[in-house]
């Protein structure tokens, strides 16, 4: 299978967020419409729905194009993605007023408060989640599609 490797990389990269998105939509419908929780989830869902799958897909294409030069493993390459995603997501969330920055921490959806002491472990955990997902899930998909 030698045709269109970048198309296959795009599809493999978009696989994980595309699978998780229906779960998020289900949670959104249950929380917002069934339980009538007064959080503005619909504003927050724009980022994971519109940008994250495409960024995962493009990041996998970038790995395919650059791995011969950089020699980065797929896991480490994926672990770098939150360095790009988190500022973008925080910027979008701030402009949509679902993230407010306070003196002792940040508050999501006017409900979830994250103190600054917790931001570093949460960020490191996010890096670890990305590393594991890219190494085992995206790596498996790349091997299955014949591009790794």
């Amino acid at each position: 299978m030698t045709n269109h490797p970048y198309l296959r990389a795009f599809l493999a990269g978009a696989f994980v967020p595309t699978l998780i998105l229906p779960l998020m939509l289900t949670g959104f419908i249950v929380l917002r419409m069934v339980l009538q929780v007064p959080f503005p989830f619909e504003r927050g869902i724009i980022f994971p729905m519109a940008l994250v799958p495409s960024l995962w897909a493009l990041w996998n294409m970038l790995w395919l194009g650059s791995s011969e030069r950089t020699h980065l493993t797929i896991g480490l390459h994926g672990a770098l993605l939150p360095l790009l995603l988190m500022p973008c997501g925080a910027l979008l969330a701030t402009s949509l007023r679902i993230l407010s920055i306070g003196e002792d921490g940040v508050t999501w959806f006017n409900a979830v408060h994250v103190s600054y002491t917790w931001i570093v472990p949460v960020f490191l955990a996010a890096l670890a989640v990305y590393y594991l997902m890219w190494k085992y899930v995206v790596g498996f998909l790349n091997r299955t599609l014949g591009i790794a």
């Binding site: 994980v16 967020p17 998780i20 779960l23 998020m24 949670g27 927050g44 980022f47 994971p48 994250v52 939150p82 995603l85 988190m86 997501g89 969330a93 999501w108 979830v112 408060h113 994250v114 917790w118 472990p121 949460v122 490191l124 955990a125 996010a126 670890a128 989640v129 590393y131 594991l132 190494k135 085992y136």
Partner: protein
């Protein structure tokens, strides 16, 4: 349709379809295929996960338990 038409139709069909050639392989391929099927592993080799990855997964679980509010934030970035 009389016999003459039938013969003409037969001639036309034989002229339209190329004659088949005897393209049999020089030897019987079935034993080789059976040998390949028999030698293939029944299940794929199990993925070996290094201790470092287990430690990372444990750390993630620890953060999720100690700070459950982080879980929806993870989903926000997935």
């Amino acid at each position: 349709m009389n016999t003459r038409d039938t013969d003409r139709l037969k001639t036309l069909l034989q002229a339209a379809l190329p004659p088949t050639r005897d393209d049999l392989p020089p030897r019987d391929l079935w034993p080789e295929l059976r040998q390949r099927i028999a030698s293939a592993p029944a299940s794929p080799a199990p993925v070996s996960i290094p201790w470092f990855d287990w430690a990372l997964a444990g750390g993630v679980a620890l953060v999720a338990v100690a700070f459950p509010a982080a879980v929806p934030l993870f989903f926000y970035y997935l």
